[in-house]
């Protein structure tokens, strides 16, 4: 019956117009206003509609965007930006200093307060228009990562007249910026369509149309990729990699990404209170085997809780080697009784991590412990169990962030009193973390950040597991898309067969 029906209705909407690039995203951000964004998928769209003052290249270098140049003044309390002339928004209004001031006043004011982006830019006290093409940012507190953040999601420049005339709700669903693609149509939960902006200041895009389809199921994204319904799948589970690789029309990109995965220890109670025991637990787990077997090589060993691309990563700091015999000896010496219970808390919905957790448990069993796996719903683990210090001996954390700066991880995870640090109060660590935040000398910062990583490794505050690769898959008809570790694709250079 299905066969007969299938033969009868031969009108699939698969054929694509020349020059249309179709990208599948796992989630619909729902609001396309830069200051509202809650999710990473926003960046894959927003980076094509808007520009920031500063841009970051695919190899993570900062370069001029809507600002031609910038300089730090008055002992690093003021940044002066010279703006790019002759740029217009998609609605035709000119880009100028007023637009910059409007965008940041909005971000730092009441409207921005309703969203999560404001928190990244609180170092900016005010924005002052000097002349039509010059603005000054007055800083209230030092933030050495601010320039990178200005290349981020929340700092993108919006058109003042357009937003004021149409209102916030309209702007959410009808975005307008200065970027390489212009908004055409948005159907919530289904798709978002953009078209090339022929007047883009950095050259018109080479594809005519850019269509995003929201497909939450990884298997469906891969099936669409195989059948030609989409050109790029951004949700590619490791279990489906072989299927994609077997298809001669498709290609997989697996590149070093921002996300690091670790098991943190409860350093306050139980056997993991003792740093020697924590080190022994790290020694007991063969992390390389986990990367090879479970991740199928799509990850890298790490010695600290950061990506190898992160600012502050020390290539000379090596992971503690796998040595179960030494681990067992250390446990005996520390007086840990054989058969002691160790609880490992993790998020149950992540199939890959579930396997990782089971493997870690097997390794811990190998040195005579009695591991208990406890899976939680995401919300419960991250909103209650961790911040309130109710975890077991080990708990899962994945950390990344598009800034690629160790400060973003270290400060929030190790400084006393932070949301993500329920157990430790360490003055040495606090001092180092504050010191690197108060200087704009990037060399000095790098030195301190490396010292922090060293110190954390020495205290064995967590068991660093791996740096997970960013994986996406494409149809081979897509060319000139540079591998982008921060997963914010810009499609203006892309060509299609």
């Amino acid at each position: 019956m299905a066969l007969a029906l299938g033969g009868a209705l031969l009108a699939p909407g698969l054929a694509q117009a020349a020059g249309t690039l179709t990208v599948a995203l796992a989630s619909d951000a729902e609001s396309w206003d830069p200051i509202d964004t809650f999710i990473l998928d926003w960046g894959r769209v927003g980076s094509n509609i808007y520009d920031g003052l500063i841009q970051r290249t695919p190899d993570l270098k900062l370069q001029p965007g809507l600002a031609l140049s910038w300089e730090m003044l008055d002992d690093n309390t003021r940044i002066r930006f010279k703006l790019r002339p002759n740029v217009t928004f998609h609605d035709g209004e000119p880009f100028n200093a007023d637009a910059v001031k409007y965008s940041f006043d909005r971000l730092l004011g009441e409207e921005g307060g309703k969203g999560p982006q404001q928190a990244n830019y609180t170092a900016i006290k005010s924005v002052e228009v000097i002349d039509d093409m010059t603005v000054d940012f007055h800083l209230g507190s030092p933030d050495p990562v601010l320039l990178t953040k200005l290349a981020g999601y929340g700092a993108m420049i919006v058109p003042p007249k357009y937003v004021e005339e149409h209102g916030e709700e309209y702007f959410n669903a009808h975005p307008c910026g200065t970027g390489p693609f212009k908004f055409v149509e948005y159907t919530p939960k289904v798709s978002l369509t953009l078209e090339a902006n022929p007047d883009y200041w950095d050259g018109a895009p080479k594809v005519d149309k850019l269509v995003y389809r929201f497909i939450a199921e990884a298997a469906t994204q891969v099936a669409e990729l195989q059948s030609g319904g989409i050109d790029i799948a951004t949700l590619v589970p490791i279990s489906l990699l072989d299927t994609i690789k077997a298809d001669s029309n498709l290609t997989v990109e697996s590149i070093t990404g921002p996300n690091a995965v670790a098991l943190r220890f409860n350093t306050k109670d139980g056997i993991t209170k003792d740093p020697k025991v924590r080190k022994a637990l790290i020694e007991a787990v063969d992390r390389e085997a986990i990367i090879e077997q479970i991740l199928q090589g799509n990850g890298k060993p790490i010695a600290s809780f950061q990506s190898s691309l992160s600012f502050g990563n020390d290539p000379d700091l090596k992971p503690i080697p796998y040595d179960p015999d030494a681990a067992q000896a250390a446990l005996t010496e520390a007086g840990v009784a054989p058969g002691s219970k160790v609880e490992l808390d993790f998020v149950g919905s992540d199939a890959t991590f579930r396997e990782v957790a089971q493997t870690v448990a097997a390794f811990l069993q190998g040195i005579g412990l009695d591991p208990q796996l406890k899976s939680y719903e995401t919300n419960v683990l991250f909103k209650d169990v961790i911040p309130n210090g109710k975890t077991g001996d080990l708990f899962q954390m994945t950390w990344g962030g598009w800034t690629f700066d160790y400060d973003n991880t270290a400060y929030l995870l190790y400084h006393s009193g932070q949301y993500w640090n329920p157990y430790d109060k360490d003055q040495t660590l606090d001092d180092m973390l504050e010191k690197q935040r108060n200087t704009y000398d990037q060399d000095a910062r790098q030195t301190i950040l490396r010292q922090i990583a060293d110190y954390v490794a020495d205290q064995a505050i967590e068991m660093p597991l791996y740096n997970l690769n960013t994986i996406y898959a494409m149809n081979k008809r897509v060319h000139d898309l540079p591998p982008t570790p921060d997963i914010r694709f810009r499609f203006n250079g892309v060509t299609l067969d």
Binding site: M1, L14, D28, A223, F382
Partner: protein
């Protein structure tokens, strides 16, 4: 009859209210939308979380939030989504027709196949064709619908390129989702039809009809089918609720822009207004279908009314 109707309608309103209270309350127990911030990353502090919670209005007591929702419902307004500030009414207006289309189509498909097949199996009870139908129905009952869906995709979309893999691109997009749901329903219904038919065929009036020398076709389709249609249609009415539930998984696999996908995404994002809206509409729909069945019962069978 009026008293019976009023009682039924009063009960229906109570059920719908109870369902929305239960859902609105339990979804709040499982965490709030600011969790989305935490699973991403960045400079989030407790103060930021508090500020955003206040902006969304989720820091108020549950009763205040629920009464707000109820007040909106009385004005026909389900509110705005948390993240996009889009109207929930508009989202549901887009998703509900897609889901109903899929549900009715698969129900129709299942009846179209299961009625003749069930009758055939009942008439030729014990024959090889009866055995085959029963075996196939058992197979159909035992495999999960998402597996069948993936197999369809593999064959008709990836290998043969006959049908679109997912989404809604016109009539061709309906084929695979409707066939997946319809075939699984068919496996249940064919057993039901067979059972009902067997019972009817053993009754006296069929014996009378046959001994009058009526043609077998007339006996089966005029006398027997009409009588066993009553339990079948009643059951199908009840099945509608299950069908709406089962649609969620199939909608997910085929990325069908229906109520299931809407609810699923809203639950993972803790977008309360959307969850509440979807549950209210679906609960009302299911209650209405059941109410219609109850009333139809009352019309057909006076004994029900008396009770």
């Amino acid at each position: 009859m009026t008293g019976f109707l009023l009682r039924r309608i009063g009960l229906a309103v109570f059920v719908i209210l109870a369902v929305t209270v239960l859902v609105a309350y339990s979804v709040r127990l499982s965490g709030d939308p600011t969790a989305m911030l935490l699973t991403g990353s960045g400079n989030i502090t407790q103060a930021d979380i508090d500020r955003i919670r206040a902006a969304l209005g989720v820091d108020r007591p549950f009763v205040a939030q629920y009464l707000d929702f109820l007040g909106g419902v009385l004005h026909g307004d389900l509110g705005l989504t948390f993240f996009g500030k889009t109207s929930v009414n508009a989202l549901i207006a887009q998703a509900l027709p897609a889901t109903l289309l899929l549900a009715f189509l698969s129900l129709g498909l299942s009846l179209l196949i299961s009625i003749p097949l069930g009758i055939h199996a009942a008439v030729h009870r014990g024959s090889w064709s009866d055995q085959t139908v029963r075996l196939l129905s058992l197979v159909g009952l035992s495999f999960p619908n998402f597996w069948l869906a993936m197999m369809f995709v593999l064959i008709f979309a990836i290998t043969l390129h006959w049908l679109p893999t997912s989404g809604f691109f016109g009539a061709s997009s309906l084929v695979m989702p409707a066939a997946t749901l319809g075939l699984i329903l068919c496996a249940i219904n064919v057993r039901l039809v067979r059972g009902a038919m067997l019972e009817t065929l053993s009754t006296q009036y069929i014996l009378v009809a046959r001994s009058k020398g009526l043609a077998e076709r007339l006996v089966l389709y005029k006398h027997a089918l009409r009588n066993c249609l009553i339990p079948i249609l009643t059951y199908v009415g009840l099945q509608f609720g299950d069908l709406i539930g089962g649609v969620v998984i199939v909608e997910k696999v085929f990325n069908w822009p229906g109520m299931g996908s809407l609810a699923f995404d809203a639950i993972s994002a803790r977008d309360y207004p959307v969850i509440q809206g979807v549950v209210l509409v679906l609960a009302t729909l299911i209650v209405l279908v059941n109410l219609a069945v109850d009333i139809a019962y009352g019309l057909v069978d006076p004994r029900v009314r008396l009770r």
